[in-house]
């Protein structure tokens, strides 16, 4: 069992575990939606003074910030105590492709050093990519009213057509950037 948990989790274990998290949140009277935290953060920092979108009782959403804080600790625990190796065994075709694009640690690490190593802080290009990506994630998630957890998991589990449209949007946007923009930007 311990041996199994220390390996990268297979999809057929990971998916049901995500559903279990969804269950725990629904069962305790909440919902599974992580991007709402970004709105809560804006409201907590005073964005509600001028913008009605941020005028809500953000303190009622503190439980979700607590979930996100737990997710930080969970990441720390998983990376430091629950992994014999953190290399991600992506497919050989992807490794080859990324190598050609200058991502040389594909298949050997958890995240590309170029974007997520400490040296990224000294690279204008890396900071630009991280900022651009983050901005679109935050803007798009709120525009669409949810992200992967809110739409792809919670919404589709509840057979919501809007969530299906959003998820189609996620993939339309993702495929365009992955295939046509990333090869130029990286």
């Amino acid at each position: 069992m311990i041996e199994f948990l220390l390996q990268p989790w297979p999809w057929y274990f990971s998916g049901p575990m995500i559903a279990f998290v969804l269950f725990l949140l629904l069962w305790t009277g909440k919902s599974f939606g992580m991007s709402s935290n970004l709105r809560t953060l804006c409201a907590a920092m005073g964005a509600g003074k001028n913008l009605s979108f941020f005028q809500f009782d953000w303190k009622a959403q503190r439980w979700n910030l607590v979930v996100a804080t737990g997710a930080v600790l969970g990441g720390f625990i998983a990376a430091n105590f629950l992994s014999t190796s953190t290399a991600v065994a992506i497919s050989p075709a992807t490794i080859l492709q990324l190598n050609e694009m200058g991502i040389l640690d594909a298949g050997q690490s958890y995240m590309p050093e170029k974007l997520f190593g400490l040296n990224a802080f000294g690279s204008v290009k890396s900071i630009f990519l991280l900022s651009l990506g983050g901005f679109f994630v935050g803007f798009g998630a709120r525009y669409a009213g949810g992200c992967t957890s809110g739409h792809a998991i919670s919404g589709l589990s509840n057979f919501q057509l809007p969530s299906l449209i959003a998820v189609i949007g996620f993939f339309v946007g993702g495929l365009i950037v992955n295939h046509f923009i990333l090869p130029i930007l990286l």
Partner: protein, 138 residues
Amino acid sequence: MRTLLYFSIGILFGITMFKSEAASWFRIYEMFQFNAFHMYGIIGSALFCGAIITFLLKKFKVNSVVDGEPIVIPNKESGWKRYLFGGIFFGFGWAISGACPGPMFTVLGAGFLPIVVVIAAATLGTFCYGLLQKRLPH
């Protein structure tokens, strides 16, 4: 007590995101290349189980274990523009940063510090949506 409950759920979520490798930039890249079944297996099996869970909670009108109130799973507002356009923007960002709003926090805990740039930019993006909300088609 409740804080501890949600903190524990968050820890479980964070561990799951890291160990499933859904928090890895490489897995997201590979997913959009259709080079592996892994991410589709995760999302598909999560959905399969999630749909059964959601169905059962609704069918048996289960009450919240915390305060005994009925569990409400609200429907999404109808429409399509905001979902499609917002979704496409989200997809742009997902493909570049390899991070969605949950795994971002996990990646931070795992020690990949440049993710703070992504989190800060995502918060700014959320703020800009609030700024432009009334001018955007919904």
